[in-house]
């Protein structure tokens, strides 16, 4: 199915054989040959968008090349070399050429290659690219979505700037390109190529290409399936990587003003195909394959990201019996799964609480028991004491009684003695006289 190019062609390749369809001749001009025009008119009305990522060390002329390619001065100051890490800065511009409106976003890697330890340099780039895929995926998954008016920020082309050393690729280049080649269309270019002589350049290109091949780096190939552009694309593929020179300064050559860089020994003309591959880059990137770059991003790179992301989240296309899932089943399965998890967690929490309550109750019961035991002991002690006191009391009472008796007896005796007057005395005397 075709959708507006302003939005994106969905991953559909029309089955030309048209299964189950019979070809019928037409008895006259029906008029559906206007379909491509209808489609194009809608796209033009809607406007186009294109996003370029420039990856390369500071000072390789990324900004200048963008200015030269799009014939304008994009904003931005040249960056210093002292960035602590790699950040990505993006700017969006509305350009118009003839009746075609283009929303162009240029993303620059700031600080790439400036650090001493470059092991993580590629990470922020990969994260950025993935973030754009993620944003699109989120929009695509929404219940109420507006894909038609969504501003697509996915990177359609990555220009990888290779330093014009003339020898080989740096290991940073190989590592980075290897991390990016399954996520974005990479177009490698040799920057500031006016620093390399013609013979060195040929060798350099061969070296680079062989290193890319031997390291399994997949760079973007200009498509050769459409006869109208197959030839030129195939020729251009053999000129990769493009050796470019950028300049916004103009120099008078003959009676024309041309973009050029002036040296004492001559003038490098940017748009002279004998001097550099700038025109080839512009042809391929903008004039011939811009739409293909957008399509590849959508149907290949984005689909790969989406597939990996969904698989990560546990989505599958077929159930264990290899029967296809319907959307409903998939979501219901997911929901049941996570509901089950939640219920399990809830149950665990309850159990834990029940356990704690039991433990605490036992603790408290134990404390209560101890308390009662303590006081039972004290009670017993107290009772023993009480008994002792009572015994003492009793013995004292006995003593008191005894004394009282003694006293009473003695008093009685005394009274008797006194009564007997001297009888007691007499008796005593008598006893003595005897």
């Amino acid at each position: 199915m075709e959708m507006l190019s302003g939005s994106h062609p969905p991953p559909h390749t029309f089955n030309n054989s048209g299964e189950g369809a019979r070809a019928v001749p037409l008895a006259g001009h029906v008029g559906f040959d206007s379909m491509p025009d209808q489609l194009v008119n809608k796209s033009v009305n809607h406007g186009f968008c294109f996003n370029i990522l420039c990856v390369g060390e500071t000072g390789l002329g990324k900004s200048t090349l963008m200015d030269t390619l799009f014939n304008t001065k994009f904003e931005g100051e040249p960056t210093q070399h002292n960035q602590p890490g790699v950040t990505l800065k993006s700017n969006t511009y509305e350009l118009q050429e003839s009746n075609v409106r283009l929303k162009l976003t240029v993303v620059n890697t700031v600080g790439f290659g400036d650090q001493i330890n470059k092991e993580d340099s590629y990470k922020s780039i990969v994260e950025f690219i993935d973030a754009q895929f993620e944003a699109y995926l989120q929009e695509e998954l929404k219940i109420k979505r507006t894909l038609h008016s969504y501003h697509d920020t996915r990177i359609h082309a990555c220009l990888y700037f290779i330093a014009p050393t003339g020898h080989s690729l740096k290991s940073l280049d190989l590592v980075t390109m290897k991390k990016l080649d399954s996520k974005v269309n990479i177009i490698p270019i040799i920057a500031k190529s006016d620093a390399i002589s013609k013979s060195e350049l040929a060798k350099f290109k061969i070296k680079i290409t062989s290193e890319l091949v031997s390291n399994g780096v997949q760079i973007y190939q200009f498509p050769t399936d459409d006869e109208s552009v197959a030839e030129i694309n195939s020729t251009m593929n053999s000129h990769l990587p493009f050796a470019v020179v950028g300049s916004t300064e103009e120099v008078k050559i003959g009676n024309k003003m041309v973009k050029a860089r002036q040296y004492p020994w001559g003038t490098v003309q940017v748009e002279n195909e004998n001097h550099c591959d700038f025109v080839k880059l512009r042809e391929m990137l903008i004039r011939v394959n811009m739409e293909d770059l957008r399509e590849q991003t959508h149907t290949r790179h984005y689909e790969l990201y989406r597939r990996c992301k969904l698989e990560e989240m546990g989505f599958k296309d077929t159930d264990p019996d290899s029967k296809p899932f319907s959307l409903q089943e998939t979501y219901e399965a997911k929901r049941n799964e996570f509901m089950g998890e939640l219920q399990k967690k809830e149950e665990e929490m309850r159990q834990m609480f029940v356990q704690r309550v039991k433990e605490k109750e036992a603790e408290l019961k134990e404390a209560e028991k101890e308390l009662h035991e303590k006081f039972d002991r004290l009670k017993k002690l107290h009772q023993d004491e009480k008994k002792k006191v009572e015994e003492k009391k009793k013995s004292l009472d006995d003593e008191l009684n005894m004394f009282k008796q003694k006293k009473t007896a003695a008093e009685l005796l005394q009274n008797q003695a006194q009564q007997a007057g001297g009888s007691t005395t007499l008796k005593r005397d008598k006893e003595r006289k005897k």
Binding site: E2, M3, P11, H12, F14, N16, G18, A21, R22, A23, V24, L26, V30, G31, F32, D33, S34, M35, P36, Q38, L39, N71, Y93, E97, S98, V100, L102, L141, K142, I143, R145, H148, D226, K256, V258, K259, R282, I286, E291, D292, R306, F315, K316, D317, S326, L327, Y331, K334, R335, L342, E346, V357, K360, E368, V389, L396, E399, L400, Q414, T425
Partner: protein
């Protein structure tokens, strides 16, 4: 930031080249090919097959592949025929969906249901294909336009017409047509059209609308077409010679009704609009409006699964996954709150119990102290008593000794 660039006034070196984008799009679309699914609905005998043949200048329906009216059905069927046509290097896979039996029964209640089911099932197929993890070939068989044939009664819409259109206007682009327009005079036709449009508005039926454009010329043309809605058409499978020209038409004793004559009927307007100018828009509206409506309803049902839809109406922008994530988070926070509450209750109960324990301990302690004090008092009392007794005893004994001494002294 806005950078404007006018190609006409800059020399060739100023040319960037993205003005060529439309050509790239053109090239790729031709390579891909096009497809279109057209549904025709109406009672039998209204000339639907003939009109299709006339529109596409082909024998889509022929003795080998008869049109729907020739296939006698007891109930409403929905059938599709696919043909591949090519013109000017452009390939079109055309699917015509028929509904034989529609409106032909005595009791036509629910005869629209198979049509609704068919359209929904195509939406569902597309939704499932779009939602797969591995997406490759995504065949698009969604119905992009429905030509609804109104019988030329001259009076107004039938209840069945209204019922059908009301039920389908939010699922498919409906283009109502007055069939067999050559049975009415221009005045009758005018009146009939006015009546139909009035009823369509009364019943708030949304038929396919032409999109607005900035182009003045185009808008003028569109307004002219709007005045002639619904389009009154005539179709024909036969070619007749009129004034030396070979035209499609219907031969009557009193003349020839020409299919492509704008004064005879609106066929040309229909063909131009349906095929030559608005085919892409019909597809876009199907994709961006009707399909999206279906999809969001379907996904909301899957996501909210029995939860009251009304309170969630504002949240429909999320994806079902995000919705599930939010539900999960809500559940987790609910659980946390429950955990906290349970914790609080637990602490409170423990505190109560401990307090009770302490109170009981204090009480017991107090009692113990009390008893101890009592005992000590008793002890002291006893001691005092004993002391007194000892004192008394000592005194008395001393006294007795004195008395004894006195006695002894007296006896000498």
């Amino acid at each position: 930031l806005y950078f404007s660039f006018d190609y006409k006034f800059k020399n060739l070196e100023g040319y960037v080249g993205f003005a060529n984008l439309p050509n790239q799009v053109y090239r790729k679309s031709v390579k891909r090919g096009f497809e279109f699914t057209l549904m025709v609905v109406g009672e039998s005998g209204l000339g639907k097959s003939t009109l299709i043949n006339s529109l596409f200048l082909t024998d889509l329906y022929s003795p080998e592949y008869p049109g729907p009216s020739h296939r006698i059905k007891k109930t409403v069927q929905v059938e599709q025929s696919k043909v591949l046509v090519k013109e000017g290097g452009v390939q079109l896979l055309l699917t015509i969906v028929d509904t034989p039996g529609f409106g032909d029964a005595v009791d036509n209640s629910n005869c629209w249901q198979p049509v609704i089911d068919y359209i929904d099932s195509k939406f569902e197929d597309y939704l499932n294909a779009e939602s797969r993890v591995n997406r490759r070939q995504m065949p698009d068989s969604r119905v992009q336009c429905c030509l609804y044939f109104i019988a030329p009664s001259g009076h107004g819409l039938k209840p069945l017409d209204i019922e059908f259109m009301k039920r389908l206007h939010e699922k498919v682009n409906i283009i109502p047509l007055i069939a067999k327009a050559d049975t009415m005079t221009p005045e009758e036709c005018q009146q009939f059209k006015r009546q139909i449009m009035k009823e369509i508005q009364e019943h708030k039926i949304k038929i396919y609308e032409f999109p607005e454009t900035d182009d003045e010329e185009e808008m003028k043309m569109i307004r002219k077409i709007k005045d002639r809605l619904p389009l009154a058409v005539v179709g024909s499978n036969t070619i007749i010679e009129v004034n030396g020209k070979r035209v499609r038409g219907r031969q009557y004793p009193w003349g020839v009704a020409e299919v492509e004559n704008g004064e005879h009927c609106d066929f040309t307007i229909l063909r131009n609009m349906l095929i030559r100018t608005h085919m892409q828009d019909l597809k876009d509206v199907t994709n961006n409006v009707h399909y999206e409506n279906y999809r969001s309803r379907k996904l909301a049902a899957v996501t909210y699964n029995g939860v009251d839809n009304n309170k969630n109406k504002g949240q429909l922008t999320k994806s079902p996954l995000a919705q599930m994530e939010e539900e999960r988070r809500e559940h987790v926070s609910k659980m946390k709150k429950m955990e906290q509450e349970m914790e609080q209750v637990f602490e409170m109960k423990v505190k109560e119990k401990l307090q009770k324990l302490r109170d009981s301990e204090a009480e017991l302690q107090r009692r113990h102290e009390q008893m101890k004090k009592n005992l000590e008092a008793q002890h002291r009392e006893l001691e005092e008593k004993r002391r007194q007794h000892e004192e008394e005893k000592a005194n008395w004994e001393a006294q007795q000794r004195i008395l004894e001494q006195q006695k002894l002294d007296a006896s000498r």
